[in-house]
Amino acid sequence: MADRRDGPGSGDNEIEIKRLSKVFGQGDAAFRALDDVSLGIRRGEFFTLLGPSGCGKTTLLRLIAGFEQPSAGEVIINGRQVAGLGPNARPVNTVFQNYALFPHMTVADNIGFGLRMLGKPAAEIRETTERMLALVRMEAMAARKPSEISGGQQQRVALARALAPQPRVLLLDEPLSALDLKLRKEMQSELKRLQNETGITFVFVTHDQHEALTMSDRIAVMSGGRILQSGRPTEIYNHPAERFVADFIGDTNFLDVELVAVNGATAEVRLPGGGTRRATLPEGLAPDPGSHVTIVIRPEHASVTEEAADFEGTVEDAVFFGTDTHLNLRLSDAARFTLRRQNTGAGDGAMPEGSRVGVRVADGGIQVLRN
């Protein structure tokens, strides 16, 4: 079905999503699960759709898989319009959240199912099944039924089953959410390894920011049926363009400040201490000098300082987290600021309650929000 070298490509994009919308129900009960989404997913990348439940990420995945048909817009896979095609006619395979292994078939038969449906010769099915079993290290379990293996092993079989027909794209619908923490960490690196070895484009859906940050080449953050921001994990984390993105990923300080000057992609903002610092502007945003904007400062991008403080705060409390300590400061009646101090072994990084401390923000640590 899916020889990776066949068919016309459309630039570097394996998947093109163009102005895609999906509305469930009609009239007053209509629910817009996906709202005019456009997106390009590059060949061979690990792409993550990240967002809370109900944000539309699973709907988008289903539209790519063909389980749902769009209300408007286009899905293009490998340069080919797939509108109207069912899931069995698309060169994509899915790893389901509950794995959806066929309970009446053995592990080997589950893995070989896709090739069997494609009408491949028996020898090829057997050979590929063995290769897939080895790839996910499940050779010893080939003759077992899914009910006779553990959740983590079922997960591996589901992966092998979806990879066996050599799809152009592998869709993963929160595949790790049913595993316990230790197993989830293991499977994260396992997934990365499989993606590197197969070179297949992975589209991964999750609500877990850590999963998204550690595994992805690029992330699209979704909310309310829209993509709010997409980019590399470092871009998303260090330069969130919207409040939702900043809030959803990592811990964040929001401060309302005055914008003093704009120089292209950066701006000068007046911090609570009175001095000005350089901040990064979101792409395409050019606010007027003198206007008020919200800025984001990550807790680890600020440090306690004796001199050249950007602003001062009063220690309200300190929370010890092991690797670091969170210092919660009160800047004014309205503004709070959390600062993260790495624990180096000398003391616990805490400061006495009520003491005044100076805070210095690292260069490049200030990001202006779009809203």
Binding site: M1, A65, G66, F67, G86, P87, N88, V92, N93, T94, F96, N98, A100, L101, F102, P103, H104, F113, G114, M117, L118, R161, A162, P165
Partner: protein, 269 residues
């Protein structure tokens, strides 16, 4: 006190044991009596004279008994097979599609034979089939097959539907995702998983058809007695232990099918 109330058990009610025993006695003593007297040497239903298999022998040698048994079994298998096929399609259509207006209505219509008294169905079929008989001249087993099939559909439908409702819909999605077309999805995934429900539906329909007296009585033409209507006719005249023997065999067959039904429907995917 509070603890005792939380652990409320129906078995602690006064008289529970005696009522339970009485219920079982009422249920099983008549049947046990029937079975015991089928082995009685005498022709009496009340006086035990000694063990004998002569009534079984008499039943086996009775041509009429053989004829009606074969007819009843053939009818039950045919009608139940038709009903199971129809019920499978109905169950798929009422569980595997998006909710559509009138779905509950269809559910009620499929189950209609469960609600309508058998005499009403019987009378209706008698009148309806009489018209067809007159106009076509056909008087064969087709009427009984049709009547029994229709009557068995809800009994076959219920276990199949129950099975489908507990079946994970993503399994069929997964099959489609792995390049199976609609037929292949049904053939390799839905049907194998549905099979226990289908078999259970078939067996339930089989027993119901074997057992149905009222509708058969209304619909049958001359010479179309089934085992059930034959026994009813015999008992109206004289009661001999031969009937006990036949009833006991009947009971055995039902018991076997019911046991099979439980074994099949207990299997979980």
């Amino acid at each position: 006190m509070a603890r005792a109330r939380r652990n409320f058990s129906i078995t602690a009610l006064p008289g529970f044991a005696s009522i339970a025993v009485l219920t079982f006695v009422l249920l099983y003593v008549p049947i046990a009596t029937l079975v015991v007297f089928s082995f009685n040497e005498a022709a009496s239903m009340s006086r035990w004279q000694g063990f004998s298999l002569q009534w079984y022998q008499a039943a086996f040698e009775n041509r009429q008994v053989r004829d009606v048994s074969i007819r009843a079994l053939g009818l039950a298998v045919t009608a139940s097979a038709i009903a199971t096929f129809a019920a499978t399609l109905a169950a798929l259509a009422t569980t595997r599609t998006a909710k559509f207006p009138g779905q509950t209505m269809i559910y009620a219509l499929v189950n209609q034979p469960l609600m309508v008294p058998e005499v009403v169905t019987g009378t209706a079929l008698l009148i309806f089939f009489a018209g067809i008989k007159v106009s076509t001249g056909y008087t064969g087993m087709g009427y009984l097959v049709a009547a029994h099939s229709a009557f068995c559909i809800p009994f076959a439908y219920l276990p199949i539907r129950a099975r489908l409702q507990t079946m994970d819909l993503t399994l069929e999605r997964a099959a489609a995702d792995l390049y199976a077309n609609h037929f292949q999805t049904f053939r390799y995934v839905t049907l194998p998983l549905l099979l226990p429900g289908v078999l259970a539906g078939f067996m339930l329909g089989f027993v119901i058809s074997l057992d149905t007296v009222v509708i058969t009585e209304f619909v049958k033409s001359a010479g179309q007695d089934t085992l059930a209507t034959y026994m009813l006719g015999q008992i109206r005249r004289t009661v001999t232990p031969e009937m006990n023997a036949i009833a006991t065999l009947f009971l055995l067959l039902s018991a076997v099918v019911v046991v099979l039904f439980f074994i099949v429907s207990r299997k979980r995917p």
